[in-house]
């Protein structure tokens, strides 16, 4: 298994280490629910160094990259980020990603750990201006309503300037760190991208703050589900298209991208399944892989299912036919046929991510 630059720290503070896509990472420290609540109330630190990062330099490299993904890069002014995806020719999702425009001729792209090799091959093999910097880069997320205070206390200066879904290069103790006001929790926060040898220093500075606690992958998963974010490899993969994965708003139809023809055809015939949020009315939870039933008939699958600690009921996503996708539709899931209702995202509506600073 790969180890991140922070592995020693996680082990020393009692993190429960698991294998996540080939990386040794903590699933929890104090406990998933404690960490989840802590993130919504104060601020938590996440080690996300397993994720993929790429630089794209030069107009030609940007041009070549833009033809690969569903995002229209001309819609991204300097300083801004855009969510998108990389598809196969048949419009299956290889990975979702976020593109940051750091300068007119410079992009920074963030992807997931699972498909890293395939994504690298696809994007870098024929694009000399695009480089995989994943293994040199550590990523620390600070997320929670107190994230900005924490960042200031930890020595990060530019938080005032940073609007939601924007990114900039900042200087921290004389070194360059990419600070993005993005995240996976629905709370105010930053994703900090840095060279590996800075990670322990940055982490320790945040840990010194009394209301900041470490959080693991378990809490990361409950937090993201509560605000409606999908997980690459679980809610979607190359067997499903963006239209089947709740990505409609992010498909830039007026731009060119690999898989466009197939996706247009699917859009026009409009018989595809869709990914919907589901919830129970009790503490019972749906689970990944549960069959979805309409009466006795299996009509789909649960892709993500868990308990939402901030909302107090079971939540998740399921892929079902469009005819069963309206909010309020009653279905059952799993071997014990628990009752669920199609609902809307976010399940948790009080996230602070868009807070005006």
């Amino acid at each position: 298994m790969h180890k991140t630059a922070l592995f020693d720290i996680h082990e020393s503070i009692g993190g429960k280490i698991v294998d996540f896509n080939g990386w040794a990472l903590p699933i929890q420290f104090a406990g998933i629910i404690k960490e989840h609540s802590q993130t919504r109330a104060n601020a938590s630190l996440f080690d996300c160094s397993h994720m993929g990062e790429y630089t794209v330099k030069g107009i030609d490299a940007i041009e070549a990259f833009s033809k690969e993904i569903i995002s229209d890069l001309s819609k991204i002014p300097v300083g801004r980020c855009r969510y998108g995806a990389l598809l196969t020719e048949s419009a299956g999702i290889i990975d979702d990603l976020i593109t940051f425009r750091m300068a007119k001729d410079e992009l920074y792209v963030v992807t997931n750990a699972g498909p890293l090799d395939i994504v690298t091959e696809r994007l870098c093999a024929n694009n000399p201006g695009m480089s995989n910097v994943s293994f040199e880069t550590a990523k620390i997320d600070i997320q929670g309503p107190k994230a900005r205070e924490s960042a200031l206390k930890a020595g990060f200066k530019d938080t005032e300037a940073l609007k939601y879904f924007n990114a900039l290069w900042t200087e921290w103790e004389g070194q360059r760190i990419l600070m993005a006001r993005t995240g996976y929790t629905g709370e105010l926060g930053y994703e900090l991208f840095m060279p590996n040898d800075l990670a322990k220093k940055v982490w320790s500075r945040f840990q010194e703050i009394d209301y900041v606690e470490p959080a693991g992958l378990g809490a990361r998963d409950t937090l993201r589900t509560e605000v409606g974010y999908g997980l690459s490899g679980q809610d979607f993969n190359k067997d499903y298209t963006p239209l089947e994965s709740n990505m409609q708003p992010f498909i830039d139809w007026d731009t060119d991208f690999v898989g466009k023809d197939a996706l247009v055809a699917q859009r026009d015939s409009n018989t595809h399944d869709v990914l919907v949020p589901i919830q129970t009315s009790s503490r019972k939870s749906p689970r990944h892989g549960f069959d979805v039933f309409d009466g006795e008939q299996i009509v789909g699958q649960v892709t993500t299912g868990t308990f939402g600690p901030s909302v107090g009921f079971g939540i998740g996503f399921a892929r079902v036919p469009q005819s069963l996708s309206s909010p309020g539709t009653e279905l059952t899931v799993g071997p014990k046929k628990i009752d669920v209702e199609v609902s809307t995202i976010p399940f948790y509506a009080d996230g602070t991510c868009r807070m005006k600073l």
């Binding site: 406990g31 629910i33 009790s282 503490r283 019972k284 939870s285 308990f307 079971g314």
Partner: protein, 128 residues
Amino acid sequence: MFPTDAKYTKDHEWIREEDGSYIVGITSFAAEQLGDITYVEVPEVGDEFSITNEVATVESVKAASDIYAPISGSIIEVNYALEDQPELVNENPFTGGWFFKMSASNVEELSALMDANSYESYVQEQDH
């Protein structure tokens, strides 16, 4: 390490005698394996079970698990506090996190269960 006044099953339930009835819960080992417990489904008072029947369900953030009757008998009392506070199971698996109290229809069945020492060895094997 595990309370000596209880006996244990291979499925990590504990059972403790109290005034002729038997209190049942899951062990700290099971609770730890499950992680933060989010939901507990308890049986109804009066329900009857044979040994190893499924008698309750426990869900955590990442998994669900069935609880089996350690002995045959019927349910006398249920810990309804677990409905709103399933975390009691993680906090006090051997005391406040008890699941139900039952009568024993065949007390002999208890002798087949593990004592604290045997359960301790059993758990050590599991961890490898």
